[in-house]
Amino acid sequence: MGMRVPGYWRNMPFLYRLAGWKCVHCGAFHHYKPVVCRRCRSKEFAQVELPGSGRLIAYTVVRSPPKEFERCAPYAIGLIELEDGTKILSQLTDFKENELRDDIRVEAVFRRVRINGEQGIIEYGYKFRPALSRS
């Protein structure tokens, strides 16, 4: 597959720490380093780390996975609204059968995501799990 080690290295801040750039003017979050804001075209950004917890808006389960994820299937994908209102997508992990429901609280954890390419690079990143402190 064409996803190479330098690309992984460039994206580590987001994948490891949910770090990115927020537009100072309109608040739009960018997980990549933007040249101009994708929403308002401003050039002023603040580096931020997104809150590591939020609410599961919707989820699905991938049963017929792409090649890189064959060994992980089936796996769950969630659309999550973080505490600051940012919406992100994530794999879901550490849940029991029937535990996944819309609107449950979820929190970020650091996990192995995949083994990539012929070199077999082990790539890590965030996933979300049902929050341990259910409030």
Partner: protein
Amino acid sequence: MAGVYVAGVGFTKIAEHWDKDLEQLMAEAAVKALEDAGVSTVNAIYVGCALGEHLQCQANLGALMAECAGLTGVPAFRAEAADASGAAALYSGFCDIASGRSEAVLVVGGEKLSDGLSEEVSSGTLMMSGRSWYEGFMGIDFYAMSALLYRLYSKRYGDEGIPFFPVISHEHAEGVAHAQYPFKIALDRVLESPFIAEPLRMLEVSGIGDGAAAAVLVSEELARRLKSPKIRMFISSATDYVNPFDREDPLRLQSVMLSVSRVLEHAGISRSELNMVELHDSASILGALCLESGGFSPPGAAGKLAMKGEFGLNGRLPCNTFGGLKARGHPFGATAIYQVAEIYLQLAGRAGKNQLDKARTGLAISLSGVGAAAFTSLLKMEEV
């Protein structure tokens, strides 16, 4: 802007073509289209293909296509916009004629998905639909994305009638010679099929197949000299944020909304004047979202209208008259050209058993991924 006319079309059956390479398949469609148009050469060739590098290790499809169609020497290159690549090629060809630079162009799209394993095709759609270091990294493929949209849709409006879209497409594909799945399926079978990514079921998504389609576009002056019917073409396009959940409302495909409004305005046609629409139903939910975002159904009502028969061949607005992406098939880079070719056949009165009564205008919506880009083509029969 000068008028652009479709002078002829050609396509292959969508199937698993084990005995043919990508360029052979495309040449077959190209030569058919040239013969259909009655032209022996063109000023330029535009090729649509999404996964040539990924599945065939093949780029440089422009020159390759020119050679295989016996047109070496003619300028040729490829346009790419994921599974709307064929529409990107149509757009390029359209602009070439509309600008007055060319008199005739060949637009050809092709994809040979059966050269890859289904997981590889899935990796391809994943790579092309979303950002490779976001959705791609996490294994969020096209199906998962569509499934999440489906969930949001069901929560807001309910899912009544959405699984009926494949039933309509298959009904229209029955007996169609070029369709990949030329048979009917009942709603029960759709609902009993296993999940591919819940709530999306296996029989709600398009399959994997090979196909190529081509169209010859010509100037008004050349159209007057050719024998083919005078069918004028318009095309518009728009983009949106690649990740639908970055959008203001993920259930409103802005790229569809904009490209449909622009093309109607350009053609001077209102929605009620359209005789047919080809939808991008790579997943049932996307067919519904195309109708709603394009202004052909109120939000949340497309499924209910589908159940009432509004989108059948005898309905208010016939959709997917040869089976759409679901049943005719969805060989990515060729799909948009199949859509336009099918409208052409309807307008030219060559649609066989699927012929609509008095079809004079038709519109096709082609998406890349879940609407990161939309291209809307419109064909209109002109009085001579």
